[in-house]
């Protein structure tokens, strides 16, 4: 399942990655931090 917003497609893997990131964080994350996390995921 993908969703397109302004030519951006976030896959279920992307969302799963973000959810895990949010679960493991002890403080709230901003949208910009999530954007940066998607751009430079660990291991990439």
């Amino acid at each position: 399942m993908t969703e397109t917003t302004a030519n951006v497609q976030l896959t279920d893997n992307d969302i799963a990655f973000l959810l895990t990131l949010l679960r493991n964080s002890s403080v709230p994350l901003t949208t910009q931090q999530l954007v940066e996390a998607l751009r430079t995921p660990p291991g990439r």
């Binding site: 917003t5 497609q9 893997n13 799963a16 954007v35 995921p41 660990p42």
Partner: protein
């Protein structure tokens, strides 16, 4: 007064002894009249005998005999060679008292006891929590939680990489001959770094440098690797002997993976999570995509542009919510999440979980729609309750003010960017001054932030006025489909410091909820200026006014300029709602009679029309030009209103 009743004593001895002893007792009681009842009264035997001898009542020997005859009442002490008779008021020999020095305050003060050791307490049982929920792990660990999905997709391939010569080749793990070699030299590759998909295979590869020798013959080194394959590389350290010259290279036709029980256990490989390539996507688009997906996800809590897993957000009890509501009502003003987290939840600002507590306040209160209203900005998150009184003037209802500013909806530019300018300068109109407000026009919308929440109707800002050392709470009423936006709450500042026509400047700060409000100061001046007198019959009056601010003369409503405005009554509300009716009434008030009708300059019309209701220059110009009774002969400098035309 307390009277001590003397004890009746019984004396021993002969009758004469009794008399002498009783009299001696009275004498000694007289001597110790003010002494404590048990304090020793000492009288020398010589002086006692002298008394009796002088009184011719008894001899010294008789006195001593009588004293000795009553040992329970009298005692004889010798001090410095003199014999003293000792007794007490109570009539018994003094009892020697020993002051206990076992426990004294000074001793305890100077020699404190050692700190008692705490008894051993059994460790309190804590609920078992998965480590992933209590500790922050490096993002690399994210892959471990998603391994199952990826393992199915992964290719059972591995490549041995030597430090001297990189060999990126898929490992042929099918060779059964490899297994014995691994078992013989498990310690030769202690620092092997494994990033492969198949654990058993990696273990074999890591512990079997000879495997690479086999692979050399099997796989071409020029194999091009994909991104995913690159993550499946096996890297060996420099000391690993990748190539064993004596090893035999054999290709096995039938792949069989033999279990190797003695192989050194390799760590579970990190799963590979294939994420979208977003390198070409703009931040705003990616943020919008994230927002669209996560906003509807019930596993995620969000407020504004902050996100966290729902399970990580502390919950507030009903008692917490009630105390927050009571506290806001008690303070009679909206309070920020910072204040609530500190004062109600008791979290200190320097505590590591303070940001989390603030987030919890915001998330939990945002779900209590009936009790709480969010009236903050991103930088200053105010919360209000329905019981709080409105900020600002009570002269006019906010809904009516919004209706007055309805023209701003037509003048608004949809492309303007909120919070994009640093400061805005304005000239106060009479309407704004009287009600203590400012319009949320295009300039102000460029200065102020937009509503943080989609359904947010208002926001409370703080306006700091350094010239008067005061800070005001200002409420921004955002536009609705049929009402314009405006800012309320400056009536005190205006009335104490300014007059209509004053020049003010509003400057943004780093905090999008906090602004600096200044006015252009000037010399002290006095003039008769227009005021709205609503104490009895509501009407406009001119009163002598002193002010120390610079004013735009074209907006000053003085008696010299508009003498006919004095004692005018405000227009009826039904009339006020129609801009053209107010303009016509303004012509009647300030116009100069001519043959064609009432003549007035545009600047005068603008200043005077803004007494009754807000006008922008565009609105006034449009109103003048659309009215068939109004004409201009000089391209808009002056207008003439022909009432009967």
């Amino acid at each position: 007064m307390v009277a001590e009743q003397e004890t009746q004593l019984t004396f021993a001895g002969t009758k004469k002894d009794k008399q002498v002893a009783e009299q001696a007792m009275q004498l000694m009681r007289g001597q110790g009249r003010f002494m404590a009842t048990n304090a020793p009264i000492r009288v020398s035997l010589t002086s006692l005998a002298k008394y009796f001898t002088d009184q011719a009542e008894a001899s010294a020997a008789a006195v001593e005999k009588a004293i000795v005859a009553n040992p329970e009442i009298f005692a004889i002490e010798e001090r410095d060679g003199e014999r003293l008779v000792v007794t007490t008021i109570r009539g018994h020999i003094p009892i020697e008292q020993h002051e206990s020095t076992v426990h004294t305050f000074s001793a305890r003060l100077m020699t404190p006891l050692p700190k008692p050791e705490r008894p051993a307490v059994a460790p309190r049982e804590r609920p078992l929590v998965a480590p992933s929920w209590t500790t922050f792990t490096e993002p690399a660990d994210l892959y471990e939680t998603l391994i199952e999905e990826e393992e199915a997709l992964a290719e059972p391939a591995a490549v041995v990489e030597s430090p001297a010569e990189l060999v990126e080749e898929p490992i042929s793990v099918e060779a059964p001959e490899v297994v014995p070699t691994i078992l013989e030299q498990p310690e030769e590759a202690p620092a092997a770094e494994l990033v492969a998909e198949e654990p058993a295979v990696e273990a074999e590869a890591a512990t079997a440098p000879e495997l690479a020798t086999d692979v050399d013959a099997l796989v071409e080194p020029e194999v091009a690797l994909s991104d995913q394959d690159e993550r499946q590389l096996i890297t060996l350290d420099a000391e690993d002997e990748v190539v064993a010259p004596e090893a035999e290279v054999t290709q096995v036709e039938e792949p069989v993976v033999t279990p190797v029980p003695n192989v050194v256990a390799a760590p579970r490989p990190a799963p590979v999570l294939v994420l979208s390539d977003v390198s070409d996507v703009a931040d705003a688009d990616l943020a919008a995509a994230i927002d669209a997906r996560l906003r509807e996800d019930t596993r995620v809590a969000h407020f504004g542009d902050h996100w966290l897993s729902e399970d990580r957000v502390p919950r507030l009890s009903r008692g917490d919510l009630r105390r927050i509501k009571d506290y806001i009502d008690e303070q009679e003003q909206p309070l920020t999440d910072t204040t609530l987290a500190q004062d109600i939840l008791g979290v200190r600002p320097n505590a590591p979980d303070f940001d989390l507590a603030r987030f919890a306040v915001n998330v939990r209160l945002s779900r209590e729609h009936r009790e709480f209203d969010f009236v903050g900005t991103n930088g200053q998150r105010f919360w209000s309750t329905s019981a709080l009184p409105q900020l600002g003037t009570t002269r006019r209802r906010p809904n009516d003010i919004g209706t007055d500013f309805r023209f701003l909806l037509e003048e608004s530019d949809p492309s303007l960017e909120p919070h994009s300018v640093r400061s805005v300068d304005r000239v106060l109109t009479f309407y704004e001054y009287t009600l203590g407000l400012l319009p949320l026009d295009a300039d102000m919308r460029r200065l102020l932030p937009k509503a943080l929440l989609p359904d947010q109707r208002s926001a409370v800002l703080t306006f700091e006025c350094p010239q008067s050392y005061t800070t005001y709470l200002v409420e921004v009423r955002y536009p609705t489909p049929n009402r314009g936006g405006f800012l309320l709450g400056l009536d005190d500042f205006f009335s104490e410091n300014l007059v209509p026509g004053a020049l003010i400047s509003i400057t943004a700060t780093e905090n999008d909820g906090h602004y600096r409000l200044e006015y252009l100061a000037g010399e002290n001046q006095s003039a008769r200026l227009l005021e709205l007198d609503d104490r009895r019959a509501v009407r406009y009056v001119f009163r002598p006014t002193s002010y120390a601010c610079t004013v735009a003369s074209e907006m000053l409503i003085s008696e010299e300029r508009f003498p006919s405005l004095g004692s005018e009554k405000p227009l009826d509300d039904r009339l006020r709602r129609r801009p053209e009716a107010v303009v016509q009434a303004t012509f009647e008030r300030i116009g100069i009679d001519t043959d064609e009708g009432k003549l007035a300059a545009f600047d005068d019309l603008y200043a005077a029309a803004n007494i009754e209701r807000p006008y922008s220059r565009e609105l006034l110009r449009t109103t003048l030009e659309s009215d068939t009774h109004i004409t201009t002969a000089d391209d808009g400098e002056t207008y003439t209103y022909a009432a009967g035309a």
